[in-house]
């Protein structure tokens, strides 16, 4: 049962081949037996999952039930879950049990999804390897001496290890697409504002966006259809008509214009990763698409702009963790200043502290114009590059990451090297565009991801483009797990 996709589970449940309770029990047992090798879960909600599964089975027996009714999923531990610890993989929130659900949790619960637990991640979603968790690093199921990517490494690893068929994740600079690429899963970062951020612990508010990780584009479409939609509680939520993201999955790709940015194939790209991407592009040509060279001239500035904007927003967002209202408080503080400084110094990990300090620097008097304002201007140039490109092409394609998964610890001591892992993904966050990663090859038995960047609110078309490729190839069916 653990090898089934969400689409196959939907059929199995309706044909009564198995019940949601049986499936949930089976996956909970797998998590218990296997996850010590991957560390993809921080919290497993066994009792709650079995209660939800039982309710889903009753709903399914009654006839009309939403597509996701009875489907087991897991939530990234940055997404608030009522009555279930939401730690952000940080000592700061190790004891935090929110009294409310995030909007996307409410929506998935209402659709009848069964939550198996909360997945491991980089602390406060800051990272590209899922090694900075307070609960220890996540390991890549394809090679447990390698990272699964970050920050949603637990969500991706749990899907790749066949512990759960789909999960939620968040992407601020590539944190859905990058781990999806490194674990052979399908990850979709929607258009900024497409999915509510209410109840998701904020890292960089103008960049954060939640989305699904699954094994196929079809499964991602099921999850996104349940997650997306206008939310009056999130003032950045887009009030646009809701799409059925699965509706056009089988549309033909004849005449599709794919833009290939020259900047994404230059120095720094692993040649064997590049070869996988080129082969994927040839497959798209066979499917009727046309490849066009395009240029995104400011793309090399995406990383420096991001590492001003994201830390600046983080320094403001993380000011709420002060040891007063919730979260970690230091022992025997001398005075209020000592309480703040030691609670934050002891509660936050190294990378989180570093980003807060960089953000504080960029926003401080005398540096604001040179850093923050400048970065926001560069952000507009990056957005304009994409706007020009989308006048010529329907979608943009390229590598998701510069190389396959790297060894655990290989970049931990070099933050700048770690930051470069998101070199192809960050620009879409700055522009607010949707991006996807789909499996397209293996290098030394480590997965390679093809990135698809769409125009605003074009997720349905991107899923169609991904699905047709997955109908024509079988990279997405390759598994890290033998049985």
């Amino acid at each position: 049962m653990h090898q089934l996709t969400i689409a196959e589970i939907i059929l199995g449940l309706r044909r009564k081949v198995f019940s949601s309770t049986e499936l949930t029990r089976h996956l909970l047992d797998r998590i218990q037996q296997l996850d010590s090798g991957f560390n993809s879960f921080i919290t497993v909600t066994e009792e709650r999952a079995l209660t939800q599964a039982k309710a889903a089975d009753q709903r399914l027996a009654g006839g009309e039930a939403p597509a996701l009714c009875g489907i087991p999923i897991a939530h990234k531990d940055i997404i608030c879950t009522s009555g279930v610890r939401t730690s952000c993989a940080s000592k700061m929130l190790d004891n935090f049990v929110p009294p409310y659900d995030a909007t996307i949790v409410e929506k998935l619960n209402a659709a009848g999804a069964v939550t198996l637990g909360k997945t491991n991640m980089d602390e406060f979603a800051m990272g590209s390897s899922s090694e900075s968790s307070y609960y220890g690093p996540v390991k890549n199921p394809w090679n447990t001496s390698c990272v699964p990517g970050g920050s949603s490494g637990g969500s991706a690893a749990a899907v790749a290890a066949l512990l759960v068929p789909g999960s939620t994740a968040t992407d601020t600079g590539g944190s859905i697409r990058q781990p999806a690429a490194l674990t052979n899963t399908t990850g979709l970062k929607p258009t900024y504002g497409r999915v509510s951020r209410w109840g998701i612990v904020a890292y960089a508010s103008s960049l954060d966006q939640a989305g699904p990780i699954a094994r196929t584009a079809e499964d991602a479409a099921y999850l996104l259809s349940a997650m997306a939609g206008y939310d009056p509680r999130d003032s950045t939520s887009l009030n646009r008509p809701q799409s059925d993201f699965g509706k056009g999955l089988n549309n033909a790709l004849t005449g599709l214009k794919i833009g290939i940015p020259t900047e994404y194939f230059g120095e720094g790209l692993n040649p064997r990763t590049a070869a996988c991407i080129q082969e994927a592009l040839r497959e798209y040509e066979r499917l009727g698409a046309q490849l066009l060279d395009i240029s995104l001239p400011h793309s090399k500035l995406a990383i420096p702009a991001y590492y001003v904007i994201a830390p600046a927003e983080a320094s403001a967002n993380l000011s709420r963790f002060d040891g007063v209202r919730y979260g970690y408080r230091c022992q025997t503080p001398e005075d209020l200043r000592d309480l703040y400084r030691r609670s934050r110094g002891e509660g936050f990990g190294e990378e989180v502290q570093r980003r807060i300090l960089v953000g504080t620097y960029a926003l401080s008097a005398g540096y604001y114009d040179a850093y923050y304002n400048k970065a926001q201007q560069v952000r507009r140039l990056i957005k304009q590059d994409f706007a020009s490109a989308f006048e010529q092409v329907d979608v943009i394609m390229g590598p998701t990451t510069p190389a396959p998964a790297f060894k655990l610890g290989a970049k931990s001591a070099d933050p700048v090297a770690m930051y470069l892992e998101d070199i192809y993904t960050i620009a879409t966050n700055l522009a607010g565009l949707p991006g996807m990663s789909i499996p397209c090859g293996l290098v030394d038995n480590l997965p390679v991801g093809l990135q698809i960047i769409g125009n605003y609110l074009d997720e349905a078309r991107m899923l169609n483009i991904a699905h047709r490729y997955q109908q024509a190839t079988n990279w997405h069916t390759a598994s890290a797990i033998a049985v």
Binding site: L301, P304, V324, R325, R329, L357
Partner: protein, 95 residues
Amino acid sequence: MAVDTQTVEKLAELARIDISEETLEEVSHRLGEVLQLVDQLQAVNTDGIAPMAHPLEEEQTLRIDAVTESDRRKEFLALAPQTEEGLYLVPKVID
């Protein structure tokens, strides 16, 4: 771009993060590397380019001035490390 330890101490004070003496040099070094990376922005001509704070440049929507949330004060107070009589407790601020 180097960041001296005095600057780091000032940033730590502004950010209210305690940084130990032993790690100060290391933090200064790492911050310098990150700032060197972001300094690439200084070479870009952005004359006449308006800063972009929101990806879709949507206008902030205003909600109707009506209460939509229920009173969950007790639940939120229960999350705090220390409370008394409905108030958050912190160390004495004024002698």
